[in-house]
């Protein structure tokens, strides 16, 4: 039983890590009052940029940075449309998703003449934490992992600190709840929203990089398929809080992990394998529809702010 649990845990982390980054990005953006459907696209562009950079420079860390920057750049576009021009944030986000997909595919054909990158030999290597990694079973699953896994948990902690323990966090939340009140108190609503949207893009970009040069070692058109949306769902499931989002991502990761292990340990004797493949998505719907109760979105989430109105 213990080895199975360890496998399950290891695979859960594998699936959850990219989701955690993107979901935390979502927390930043939406707590400041900007809906970010574009997380998927920001992950795509991050995964793409990371793959290309890691291939070109041979340094995976430059890849992570490239993923972060490209995600942030794309988010800037979203911020311009959603904050400055007060466009419908959902429409802008959808446009971002289309654009990221189209752009990365187009560039793949330009750069590599096909719909996927070559194998990336210089991907992120695992870091074993001395001592802890030696714990039987669980040590290998938990403490012999990609640096991005540790970074994901650290980022969740950091998000919590920023959101609840700093002036910036207080301003961020007030802008998301009541921008007019915040503005009268002298807070620059636009500045806060711009910053948060860009942070969300950077995080989603790292999430993308965690897939293309961490979990696997290539970028194809199916590298990012729906992770951004699952992350969005996880953020809502987690009630727009960093720890909630983290937990929800682990939950979805576990559902995926169960799907992957089901056949090997013989669970499929009791249910069709297709059921296990369906499980993560089924749980998403059940979680969103049934268990979170009233969705406590920030009051000004999705509402553009116009100064002086």
């Amino acid at each position: 039983m213990l080895p199975i649990l360890a496998t399950l845990l290891g695979n859960t982390l594998l699936y959850a890590t990219p989701l955690i980054f993107a979901a935390l990005g979502g927390v930043f953006s939406e707590r400041s009052g900007v809906v970010n459907i574009g997380l998927e696209g920001m992950m795509t562009i991050g995964a793409f940029a990371a793959a290309v950079t890691a291939l070109g420079t041979g340094n995976p860390w430059l890849g992570v940075v490239a993923g972060m920057l490209s995600g942030g750049l794309l988010a800037l576009l979203h911020a311009v449309a959603a904050v400055t021009f007060r466009a419908d944030q959902v429409v802008s986000g959808v446009a971002i998703n289309f654009m990221a997909n189209g752009f990365s595919m187009f560039m793949l054909y330009k750069l590599y003449g096909g719909g996927q990158t070559p194998h990336i030999a210089t991907k992120l290597a695992k870091w074993a934490i001395p001592g802890l990694a030696k714990i039987p079973y669980l040590g290998d699953a938990l403490f012999n992992n990609y640096p991005t896994v540790y970074l994901a948990f650290f980022t969740a902690f950091l998000t919590w600190v920023v959101l609840y323990k700093t002036t910036f966090g207080l301003r961020l939340r007030s802008v998301g709840e009541h921008p007019l009140a915040a503005d009268t108190m002298g807070i620059n609503v636009y500045f806060i929203r711009y910053t948060c949207v860009i942070i969300s893009g950077c995080l989603a970009g790292i999430g993308g990089a965690a897939v293309s040069i961490g979990i696997i070692a290539e970028f194809t058109e199916v590298t990012i398929v729906g992770q951004g949306f699952i992350a969005l769902a996880a953020m809502i499931f987690g009630k727009w809080t960093p720890w909630g989002a983290l937990g929800a991502c682990m939950f979805f990761g576990a559902a995926n992990a169960l799907d992957a292990i089901g056949q090997t340990i013989g669970l499929t004797k009791y249910a069709n394998p297709a059921f296990f493949s369906m499980l993560p998505y089924l749980l998403t719907i059940v979680a969103l529809a049934g268990f979170i109760g009233r969705a406590n979105a920030p009051a000004a989430d999705g509402k553009p702010y116009e100064k002086g109105r």
Binding site: P3, I4, A6, T7, G10, N11, L14, Y15, L77, V80, A81, T84, F85, R86, A87, V91, S92, A95, I96, F98, M99, A100, N101, G102, F103, M105, F106, Y109, Y112, G113, G114, G115, Q116, T117, P118, H119, K126, V211, I215, I216, A217, E218, T220, E221, V222, N256, A257, D259, A260, I261, Q263, T264, I265, P273, A274, S277
Partner: protein, 354 residues
């Protein structure tokens, strides 16, 4: 005013992105201009795998390149991003005046049949699929994957230290089951007591799931895993590299193309499926006016359609390779008939010397 600008911006971004999407990939490999006889024009539409899949489609593409080099054929490749692209891509290739149009992969069988019916004067080839009644302008190319997989089973059985090996399949269909039962037969031929874990990822492109599944098989004690899962299987090589420790080494066996370079330290062998040879062979015959329309052409070990990768000696013991050579001879001579379905496998097991 400002609001209008915003809307305009969004529409503009959308248009730009759509322009990116709509761009059909056209890595046109137009050959040089040696004007002699009218050149053979060959088109190829890949399935969703794409020509860089380092597997099945990549192999087909090599065959096409060979036709270009050796026959001077003019070639054109269209990659399909989704199933909806199959019909359009085939129509584009037919309209482009290709003499022969290839559809790569069983997934394209319906599309090819439809295109063949609509264009009776054009020739088509389909890989990995045999119609019950083959249209006269179509050649079906199939392989005896079970024979090559048998040899991989022999290698796995000879190399395992835990007496547990794994099989990772793409989608659970008859074609992939040929790999599984061929592999199981090879393992059983060496040692019927070895346990074979088996799992299907329900996808040919999900390498993250391939990795997660391989992780769990390795954790369950398997130390050699053979995959027949296209892009999904790339995750297997990632898992093999990461699950190997200084005191316990685990191995991967590749499929379709030689996948040694995906994990040089952890790859035992690959079952080569020479889609390239087959694609080239059929194309060459057409060039020599020996068109095999209406037939199913099968390539096995004997015909060089399936084989063991040339890099197999890097990590595999000589003893295992000798055994492979031995079994290969027996299969070619017909002494061993390799099972390709569960029923055939069950009766094969009964016939094994205890």
């Amino acid at each position: 005013m400002v609001k209008k600008l915003g809307v305009f911006l969004i529409i503009a971004t959308l248009l730009v992105s759509l322009a990116g999407c709509g761009k059909t990939s056209e890595p046109t490999q137009g050959s040089d201009t040696k004007q002699t006889a009218p050149k053979l024009k060959i088109g190829m539409a890949t399935d969703v795998g794409g020509i860089n899949d380092e597997s099945f489609n990549a192999s087909a593409y090599r065959g096409l390149l060979k036709a270009k080099d050796e026959l001077g054929a003019e070639i054109k490749v269209l990659e399909s991003k989704q199933e909806a692209d199959y019909d359009t891509n085939l129509a584009t290739l037919v309209r482009g005046g290709n003499d022969l149009t290839w559809g790569i992969g069983f997934a394209m069988s319906n599309a090819i049949e439809k295109a063949a019916k609509e264009n009776p004067d054009k020739k088509f080839g389909i890989v990995d699929f045999a119609y019950t009644t083959v249209p006269s302008n179509v050649v079906c190319v199939t392989f005896k994957e079970e024979e090559g997989s048998f040899l991989m089973g022999v290698i796995a059985a000879k190399m395992t230290k835990t007496n547990k090996v794994g099989f990772l399949g793409g989608v659970e269909i008859d074609l992939i089951k040929k790999f599984e039962y061929g592999f199981r037969a090879g393992v059983a031929a060496v040692n019927p007591k070895i346990e074979v874990l088996s799992g299907y990822a329900a996808s040919f492109t999900d390498s993250a799931k391939g990795k997660a599944m391989a992780n769990s098989m390795y954790d369950q004690g398997a130390d050699v895993i053979f995959h027949a899962s296209g892009g999904t299987g790339k995750g297997l090589f990632e898992a093999a590299q990461e699950k190997s420790t200084s005191d316990k080494k685990v191995w991967a066996i590749g499929v379709d193309s030689d996948q040694y370079k995906l994990a040089p330290e952890n790859t035992l062998s690959s079952m080569i499926k020479s889609v390239d040879n087959a694609v080239f062979d059929v194309s060459k015959r057409l060039n020599d006016s020996d068109w095999q329309g209406g037939k199913v052409v099968t390539y096995g070990l004997k015909e060089g359609g399936v084989d063991i990768a040339p890099t197999s000696n890097k990590n595999t013991s000589q003893e295992a390779l000798d055994a492979v050579a031995d079994y290969k001879q027996k299969i070619i001579s017909g002494e061993i008939t390799v099972p390709s379905t569960k029923d055939q496998f069950d009766s094969y097991l009964l016939k094994l010397p205890a």
